[in-house]
């Protein structure tokens, strides 16, 4: 080996050449024009609030504020006396609510029907990765206040009320965030004990506890209907497997035992419970044919079988159950005749779990990045994300349209009580 100083010089040279590949063919004048159009010519979303404050005299605002507060108190008392807010069940179909999205580092919610949106949480730092509580009342999100690589989790009312940091200290390598079915805790995956561990943070900020810290956990999900078990894919020294633990982290058992694979990055990732908790859909890598396929099995790990597939697709994965449990969104990638991945194909298809009805492709051809998806709570639409745009697709393969806002946020659609 060369001495450290010589190696550092050679490494710096390699980094320069590597980074140069990013700026090949960049037309800086075109970029500047585009960035001006995308930033300066886009309205600041908090402008409505600022405008109101600047147009109204302060004394008038105070008077109006007092009247509004009094009216709100009267209404709140009437509501408390009259009835409790109806909330949706944590699993299964629900009514469609708002969509959460981040833009310019701040967090918003928007109504996909009216196009109206409002700021939920802004300020210093970057707010990202929103997740609605199952009861639809709160958002959990990741707040990055520096480039230190450590992040906080914040829980905030959907109306922006009472933002609370629920992580006692910033977490390293925070890769997943979701809610427990009772909407009282936030489940996290972050670096703990030398692994990507599974943690539960109280949504009021009362504390955090570690459930799993001896394997690398990936995308945990609670089992319907009561959330009494948590399923996750984990990397172990023997390979990747699918595991279940009780909701308190105890009694870990393997549904699919760890085994070596030639595709350790994606094999068995993101197993998903059906809305009734009786079945599991997952993707598995075929080492011989070198294809990814979607399988289903019973919740106890028995009865595994491959679902119908498109022979032209080398990758079929990321299954997501429809709220009624009849269909799965799946993501596909295709190869051309010479064995290279094809770009600009339609990556989304909706497959019927019965295996008899052919899958339906939906949405436009896309390049890359459009590979996160979520069903609308009522199961009539699909929200997908990528390339700074969110699209709403028709599960039947009909027309699609873009949301009224520009964002590449992870899809999060609020569940609302049936009306």
């Amino acid at each position: 080996m060369s001495d450290p100083t010589t190696f550092e010089r050679r490494l710096a040279d390699a980094f320069t050449r590597y980074a140069d590949t990013a700026v090949l063919d960049v037309d800086i004048d075109e970029i500047a024009t585009t960035m001006v159009a995308l930033t300066l010519r886009s309205p600041r979303r908090d402008g409505v609030v600022a405008g109101l404050a600047s147009r109204w005299p302060r004394r008038t605002l105070v008077t109006v504020g007092l009247l509004v507060t009094l009216l709100a108190a009267v209404l709140a008392a009437a509501l408390i006396v009259g009835s409790h807010r109806r909330v949706p069940l944590p699993f299964g179909p629900a009514a469609n609510g708002l969509i959460a999205f981040d833009s310019g580092g701040d967090m918003y919610v928007g109504d996909p029907v009216t196009g109206q949106s409002h700021l939920v949480l802004g300020g210093p730092g970057t707010q990202s990765d929103p997740a609605f509580s199952p009861d639809g009342s709160h958002l959990a999100l990741i707040q990055s206040t520096s480039v230190s690589g450590k992040d906080d989790v914040v829980v905030v009312g959907v109306d922006g009320s009472n933002p609370t940091v629920v992580t006692p200290r910033p977490l390293t390598n925070l890769t997943w965030l979701d809610w427990t079915p009772d909407s009282r805790q936030v489940v996290l995956v972050a670096a703990v004990g030398g692994h990507q561990g599974l943690l539960l943070a109280d949504a009021t900020g009362a504390g955090i506890r570690t459930l799993v810290n001896d394997v690398d956990v990936d995308i945990p999900v609670f089992r319907p209907p009561d959330g009494g078990e948590i399923m996750f894919r984990a990397d172990t020294p023997n390979g990747s497997g699918i595991f279940v633990v009780d909701a308190d982290g105890s009694h870990r058992r393997a549904l699919i035992a760890p085994a070596a694979t030639t595709n350790p990055q994606f094999d068995l990732r993101s197993p998903q419970y059906s809305p009734d908790g009786g079945r599991i859909a997952y993707m598995a890598w075929d080492d011989v044919r070198r294809v990814m396929r979607i399988f289903a099995m019973n919740a106890d790990g028995s009865g595994a079988h491959q679902l119908a597939s498109d022979p032209q697709a080398w990758f079929e994965g990321w299954p997501i159950w429809s709220p009624d449990g009849t269909r799965l969104i799946e993501t596909r990638q295709f190869y051309d005749g010479s064995g290279h991945p094809l770009d600009n194909t339609r990556p989304y298809a909706v497959a019927w779990v019965d295996g008899r009805t052919p899958a339906v492709e939906t949405g436009p051809p896309m390049t890359t990045g459009f590979q996160h998806a979520a069903w609308s709570p009522d199961g009539t639409e699909i929200l997908v994300q990528g390339n700074d745009q969110q699209l709403i697709l028709d599960p039947s393969g009909g027309p699609w349209h873009a949301t009224p806002w520009t964002s590449n946020a992870y899809p999060a659609w609020q569940r609302d009580a049936p009306r």
């Binding site: 050449r17 001006v36 310019g104 480039v147």
Partner: protein, 180 residues
Amino acid sequence: MTNRASDQAHALDSIVGRAAAGEERAFATLVRAHHESMLRVAFVITGDREVAADAVQTAWSVAWRRLGTLRDASAIKTWLVAIAANEARLSLRRQRRRAVVELAITPNGDTDDPGRRIAIVDLQRAMRGLSANDRMLLALRFAAGLESAEIAGHLQLSASGVRSRLARLLERLRRELDHV
């Protein structure tokens, strides 16, 4: 400060101030001056040109909203590069469910004197084995050319802490890449 340096500082102050006020020509000037540096850093962190371009686009949006909070206009490059690095790190997390098609990078001049150069494909492979935080540290040091003290200011570490982390990373990369 010499008159020339003072004039340059005033000019930069003016450009940043006018950009913060929404003047399109001033903002475009900042984009022309710093976009490529931001893109280089984001690419080293993400390893994907398209993801890096998306991250830098978001970074400009973040920067525009927060430009008024920048106290020292002379730190604009470091400030923008740090925002781009953070957006690149966040975009890695957003890809957690993405089936990444890893395309081989065309060797850029690697055939010249191959025995004395670290091949880009080897560097790319080694970077994939590092955490997002370690990639960010290397990108800020080697793709943006920031000094340890500048990096420390953005990572909330001491300069000596940055140097020791870099030293460990360099030793790891030396074991992986230094075949000669």
